[in-house]
Symmetry: D3
Subunit: 188 residues, 6 copies
């Protein structure tokens, strides 16, 4: 395991990690060609590791949204919350899934300056508001999404991605999870 | 199922709900004497139901914090995020677990005016900052928690509760999950 | 007098309090069945006591608004300003005057999640904005109230309640006036 | 009466105004050499006129603070709340009472750039925070005032001036009370 | 040179100042009848002096806006940024160029309470938003200006004045440039 | 000239551009190997082009700061202001001048998560505060910089870079200046 995966909590040694989590980490390592630091970092607390990645898996495996839309939401929310790990790691995923090498830098900085369809612009406007002012969301915000063409299930899924990354951003920032060097360049 | 559990998404009929989720709902109903609306609400999307409650279970079942501390964090964060379901439902749980009938109203309004130990005051100060300004958390914030006597694992667990309820608050507010009438009065 | 009425200024002994103020306190005590702590607290400075309660009396005795509307405004404003005494004490009054046991918890948390008529929703939207950003109020905000059916005098009265509780909330928070135990449960 | 005293509510004709209020207006007119617009404006609602000016009178007639300190607080708070009438009218009073022709423009813009003693700087720092974030005031804020040399009664009085002008600023801005031309130049 | 021109950096002696800058200062002194403190202050760093005043000269000498509109923008932006030097010095210029003795105090406090045409109100609404939230400006904000009658070049010029004074306000506040006494009264 | 250099104002044709500006553009093109879009964009208004780049040249050619420190400040400020052109173009310059391929993404997202010396951390903390809350800067902020080892001239220069990019960010965002494709990848 990489001692530098996380700056503010100890990263467990491989032999301390439960079998099922080690297997997941091995799969991710094989997939990516390196071990994304969020995996050894969350292994600090195995019960949280399992729940966190179960939620993440549900978000991407059972969604009415395209995978690139999910990553657009994640990069936008993580930009609003100033979360380095999530901006850099999901920026790489967005470049790959959207086949759009500039989009991640645009969304992390300001979705208003990004090259987007009108529908995606409304989606990200909503993501920003739900992140910054969750208590101010009202019927009219949902109505805008519906008029932009999003179905009821898509609105649930958009809301879920925004909400889960309001969790992830806080964990990654506090734990100081470091983006792997590979993520900075992938898909450019 | 209660059609009024949630205002902005359809609540599924009992027969549409997968077996494992129905069983969990039945257990919760038996425990509480009524069905807390968050369960039928989240059954709208079964894969999310499983992940959401798995995370919640991990937070309370595998924690270095006392259960009343967990509920103190939840009520404080939900007050900052103006989330009605979470303030009312977890306010009831806090009254019960802390055996403190006034504490939930105090924390939902302003932790600075609550009857608290100095250690818990620092914990809630941190919870408020991590909720309002996640990008501004730095080493000195963690240092304050350590000086207040919290262990490394406790700091991880505090951070996790705050982060997960930054998820829950957004889902509950957008979905307009309605607090059951029972929660308003429990433990007073 | 209750020494615990207020945490940050000395509460005067009964004999130190001028006759007219003692009489007012006695009347309030008889009415409520207990002495609401704001009365002995404000007796710290008799000239302020007289002016503060004169304003309060004018707001409720000479108003184009229903008493329950006044209390709805107070609870909403006090929730925005995080004022414990005002949320708890006027929460009790709202439950009683509106005969609505859940409304106070709803408004103190988030008026957007409360059970409200459209007219009252606009009233509370205005109350929130006038509390948070007084310098940003413009003609269009007043126009919305007029279109929602409020008369000129009602708009003056709404504005006055919001304004006076922007005073009260600051005094009660700084003085650390403690809500009487009775208020937490009244009208539930 | 001056029809232009207030932009958003009707200014009553002199004969419609109750005797006691007319007398107060006459006294103020004699004192100032003109009728400050806040008087005919508040005569719109006589019961509020009486309470509002009773509070104002208590603040200035029964205070542990010097009159110039009261006006320093008012101008600072009114600057934070962007209230034109209060900045201009009390700016004039501050110039006169402090015999300091530049101080009002300095405080209305930014107390950090004003010519002030250290004690008054702390007083105005507190006034700004209590105006902007009333729910965030805590023991340490009061401690700073005490260390700056303010007595318990002075702290109550400072808090009262800030609080009452959080009322006045909102009323004057919503009612659009117009500063008399005279106020712009008095005391320069 | 006036040692009191600036509180936080040393003001250079006249003989230390390069010839071209001394000449500019002399011209300004002749024009105004006194030496506005921003000139000796910026002479601290001659290369910056030349660039800063070159930009300022371009803004006023080559503009599609009337000079009084430029000063209206400057006073409004400087009020939002709480910059004493700019509010007081450009307040004087606005009084003179607009021949409107009350307008500067109105705009420095709250453009919503100022005596303005509808077109100028939209212009200042935009100036406030661009100052407070530059990342939130979008197509609709520009559209409002266009509908208010501003040409493309006027929109560039409005944006430039707002942007340059977001520079000036920060320099003047940090350097603590002191408004000359004369500016407080000019044009009243 | 590239028609796509800027989204919200017309980009002038080469022949419309004054000789001196054309020469500057040619020099920049030769230096970079492509024409950075900010040059044809600002050519929309030649008098502003000259002043803007004169200030920029003064900032980098006559500075007590290292060039990489200047670019660190620019990327941080532009991240706070959500300015796409400045984050992407100066991100490339920072990677090159600091020979640090990850630093720009770190600073654009959150300087608290960046790999920095303590001195540079204080410098960027100040840059963030001066950008977000210019009116709240006081003596203690400057004192922190001095204690971190910055000289008086360095503090002036830091302040100037922050201030000028509070100008640039607003112009680039409103004009919708598009980062050249080359900038996204340079120096990675």
């Amino acid at each position: 395991m990489n001692d530098d995966a996380m700056g503010r909590f100890p990263v467990p040694d491989r032999e301390e990690i439960p079998e099922d989590i080690r297997e997941r980490i091995d799969e991710e390592t094989e997939d990516a060609g390196f071990t994304p630091n969020v995996f050894p970092a969350f292994a600090y607390k195995p019960s949280h590791f399992r729940a966190f990645f179960a939620y993440h898996d549900a978000l991407v495996d059972d969604s009415a949204l395209a995978r690139e839309e999910i990553e657009m939401l994640i990069v936008t929310v993580s930009g609003v919350n100033d979360c380095l790990y999530c901006v850099v790691a999901h920026g790489a995923l967005l470049r790959i899934f959207a086949d759009a090498p500039k989009l991640a830098d645009q969304l992390a900085t300001n979705h208003r300056s990004a090259d987007l369809s009108d529908q995606h612009r409304e989606m990200l406007e909503y993501a920003e508001k739900l992140t910054e002012s969750p208590g101010k969301i009202g019927d009219s915000d949902l109505e805008v999404l519906r008029e932009a063409g999003f179905s009821t299930e898509e609105i649930w899924d958009i809301t879920s991605v925004v909400s889960v990354f309001n969790l992830s951003n806080r964990m990654a920032t506090v734990a100081d999870i470091r983006p792997n060097d590979e993520f900075y360049d992938l898909g450019r």
